[in-house]
Amino acid sequence: MGARAEGKGSGGEVIDVEGLVKTYGSVRAVQGLSMTVGKGEIVGLVGPNGAGKTTTLRCLTGIIPPTSGHVRIGGFDLMAQPLEAKRRLAFVPDEPRLFDYLTSWDHLIITARLYGVEDGAARAKLLLDELELGDRRDAYPSELSRGMKQKLMVAMALLHRPEALLLDEPLTGLDPAAMRRMKTRIQSSAASGVAVILSSHMLHLVEEVCDRVILVVRGKKVLDGTLEAIRQASPGLSGDADLEAIFMKVVEGDAG
């Protein structure tokens, strides 16, 4: 098992996952995953296709119920106190699923109302401008590009000032400039105290943005720690090995 480093948010864990298991029939998609994400910490969730990353994120957001285990968001158990837990989290799925019949503005307004955001309209306007969607306020999703839809999902996620932000492939469909701005946005959210889990195949992004990396293979956590701690704990890796090298070594080793 890899090294475990203390995150920025040690002592103030916002996301606390304990023994998470999710099975589909005889398939164990997630096998006893445990992790914590502290306040202001950005954790990268990486793994090969079918490793169980998306399933983990779906369990963490209450979209699918876990078979066993506990998920606590801001100290509230997701199964026992779902409303309290959900008020504190936000999820940006890999595929933006927006309502065909609502404009960008409608999406933000209903989000504000459901989360009870007092300054919903003002904040919606601010986020639209910040994410360069100001002129697409009255556009339907069918009139938005993939990247714009992704930005709108991010705006909806940030609208209620979540304590925990879960992002599944957030840079898909974004142009290089938008990618840069999105990275900055994720980092500034963390700087303001938000606990972030970022699932991505873009290892350079994870390396650049995340404080800690969790590598999942076949539903099991195989590495958890800062890049430095992982390097030190893994014999046979050079001192300057990047995440890709670590990933390949672990995944190929697992396959072998």
Binding site: R58, P82, L83, K86, I110, R113
Partner: protein, 608 residues
């Protein structure tokens, strides 16, 4: 190489079949499939069953040879008129229909143009063959052998027609590619030729049509049929019809040998036409890609919303306050799936329309039938919409499941979430039903107003002898009947919507509404089964209402309270109460189900 393309088609077909069969492992799909197949079997098997029950007619057709010859000639006339007609039109489909994915694969594969066109033609073969074989089951004559021969003959006609359509589509496309002057000349020559042909045909038809007209004036249908059979076909007309007479001859061949003789020239004609299509110089690739994109876009449910004007996009059904129950916000959202029109605007528009229905036809002294038609138009939605509820509007859980990754993260309690989903279509159904009731009521009053204005007696009276039994005037009794209907409409809308949402949670794969909505026999069976179950559930749910109203009526009689129309609204409320309570109970159950729902991959993939 064509073998590879046939294999590709076969694999695609096989994939679809295997996917459907895999779904049948789940009992819910299996039941739907059995019901669907049973239903289809009834339609397809009925003619065969009829044949078995009438063995005496196996040897031959019940129609005489003369009648068959006349039908053959009439069919040839129809084909002669219809087949060349589209060539007169310069618009229509251009090129060949391909899917975007097919084009992407085929155009970069090492295939010749001819092979790609062959693939395009091959694609439609299954459809042509099925339509040709199904038709004789319904309209064929004689036993299975005769029907099979007729099916083969029908396939030849359809295939020829289909290839002719492709030829025309490629010709029209080619017209856009060649120099404009040349295209104009070709179009002009074609038009002159076809118009000339139709002119000659009509001229040849004239004496024949006169004779047919006279035959149709016979005293009874037997004489008419006999006269029509005996109508003489002018030789010149027969000559004009000959090519198409040959084309459909295999359909009317009496036996195996006659069929072979008739089929040979038709197969040759098909082969020639196929060759013409395959040798077409039209550059179909670009137009096919354009068309594929258009088709994909037209299939998308988002198309309808993209057409909303920028002004209309600013409209919302009602103002949404920053705070308040989540149900209101969800109803606000779901209503916009149907319309963004303001509720206040709809209410005032509806009232103005009702006023117009009551006054205008009467003032204009229109016939009393006008009010009857209006009452009927209002009566149908008044009764049907509360029963159908969500089926009409599709703005409940059925549509919401495609957004499960978003809605499940909302901090809304499961019970309140389900309640909002139930209320969204229920409110619309109730409002539309009430409007229908309003139309019926105002039509009745409009009719009375007309009576007062014209002095002509109105025939449209709901309770003509109300005064004798109900102690009130007819007009008031009518109003009270409608007042009793409103709580029932509300309750039925709510209950029906609750049932449908519960069904969505129980059997989401059957109910979910998404871009890739399933079609086919299994889906048909599922829909039929669900509709029958819904009808039965509504019928059973109405039993407590009937008992309650019956008890109230019995009590009134026992105590000796005189009959009065004033009790109608109370009966309406009593009838509505059990349905509302049942609906409420279903919402609680639905809340629990939503809470515990473990969405399968199938649901998570909806709308992707």
């Amino acid at each position: 190489m064509i073998g590879v393309l046939v294999r590709l088609q076969w694999m695609m077909l096989k994939g679809r079949v295997v996917r459907s069969i895999r779904l049948l492992r789940q009992p819910k799909y299996l039941v739907g499939f059995i019901v669907g197949v049973g239903w289809m079997g009834l339609w397809v098997g009925r003619p065969l069953l009829k044949w078995k029950l009438n063995l005496h007619s196996v040897s031959g057709s019940p129609l005489g040879m003369e009648s068959i010859a006349a039908i053959h000639r009439c069919a040839a006339l129809f084909v002669t008129l219809a087949l060349p007609f589209p060539w007169l039109l310069p618009w229509g489909r251009l090129g060949l229909p391909f899917r975007e994915s097919e084009l992407t694969m085929l155009l970069q594969a090492p295939l010749t143009r001819r092979q790609v066109i062959q693939y395009g033609l091959l694609k439609s073969e299954v459809g042509v063959l099925l339509s040709a074989l199904i038709l004789p089951l319904f309209v064929g004559l004689g036993g299975p052998g005769a029907r099979l021969l007729m099916g083969c003959g029908t396939w030849m006609l359809f295939e020829f027609w289909h290839l002719n359509g492709k030829w025309r589509a490629l010709f029209n496309l080619r017209q856009t590619e060649i120099p404009a002057a040349l295209a104009r000349t070709r179009r002009l020559m074609l038009t002159i030729g076809l118009v000339g042909f139709y002119a000659v045909l009509l001229w040849a038809l004239k004496p024949f049509l006169t004779e047919v007209g006279a035959a149709l004036r016979g005293p009874d249908y037997r004489r008419v049929a006999a006269s029509l059979t005996a109508v003489t076909w002018p030789p010149f007309l027969k000559a004009l019809l000959t090519p198409c007479w040959w084309l459909i001859a295999p359909m009317f061949a009496g036996g195996g040998t006659a069929f072979v003789v008739a089929a040979v020239p038709v197969l040759l004609a098909i082969a020639v036409q196929r060759e013409i299509v395959l040798r077409s110089k039209a550059r179909f690739e670009e137009s096919a890609l354009e068309r594929a994109t258009e088709v994909e876009a037209s299939k998308s449910p988002t198309q309808r919303f993209a057409k909303v004007s920028s002004r209309a996009r600013l409209k919302r059904p009602f103002e949404l306050d920053q705070r308040g129950p989540p149900e209101a916000a969800l109803v606000w959202k779901n209503t916009m799936r149907v319309s963004r029109a303001r509720w206040a605007g709809i209410a005032s528009g509806g009232l103005a329309l009702l006023l117009a229905i009551a006054l205008l036809p009467a003032i204009l002294r229109l016939h009393d039938v006008t009010f009857g038609v209006l009452a009927l138009l209002g009566g149908v939605p008044m009764i049907i919409l509360p029963l159908l509820a969500g089926m009409t509007w599709n703005n409940d859980l059925r549509a919401e499941l495609a957004h499960i990754e978003l809605v499940r993260t909302w901090p809304v309690s499961a019970r309140r979430f389900v309640l909002a989903q139930v209320l969204s279509p229920a409110i619309l159904s109730f409002v539309a039903s009430s409007f229908g009731a309003g139309v019926v009521l105002t039509s009745l009053f409009g009719s009375r107003l007309r009576e007062a204005l014209t002095g002509q007696r109105s025939t449209l009276v709901l309770l003509p002898r109300a005064g004798e039994f109900l102690g009130v005037r007819t007009g008031l009794a009518t109003v009270l009947v409608f007042a009793s209907f409103l709580p029932m409409a509300a309750a039925v809308s709510f209950f029906s919507s609750a049932l449908q949402n519960i069904a969505t949670l129980f059997i989401p794969a059957w109910m979910a509404h998404s871009a890739d909505r399933r079609r086919g026999v299994a889906a048909l069976g599922q829909r039929m089964l669900f509709s029958a179950a819904l009808g039965l559930a509504l019928l059973l749910a109405s039993v407590p209402s009937a008992l309650l109203v019956g008890a109230a009526v019995g009590l009134q009689w026992w105590i000796g309270i005189p009959w009065s129309a004033w009790t109608f609204p109370l009966w309406g409320i009593l009838a509505a109460a059990p349905l509302l309570a049942g609906g409420w109970l279903l919402v609680q159950v639905g809340g629990r189900l939503w809470e515990r729902l473990d969405p399968s991959q199938e649901i998570l993939e909806l709308g992707r």
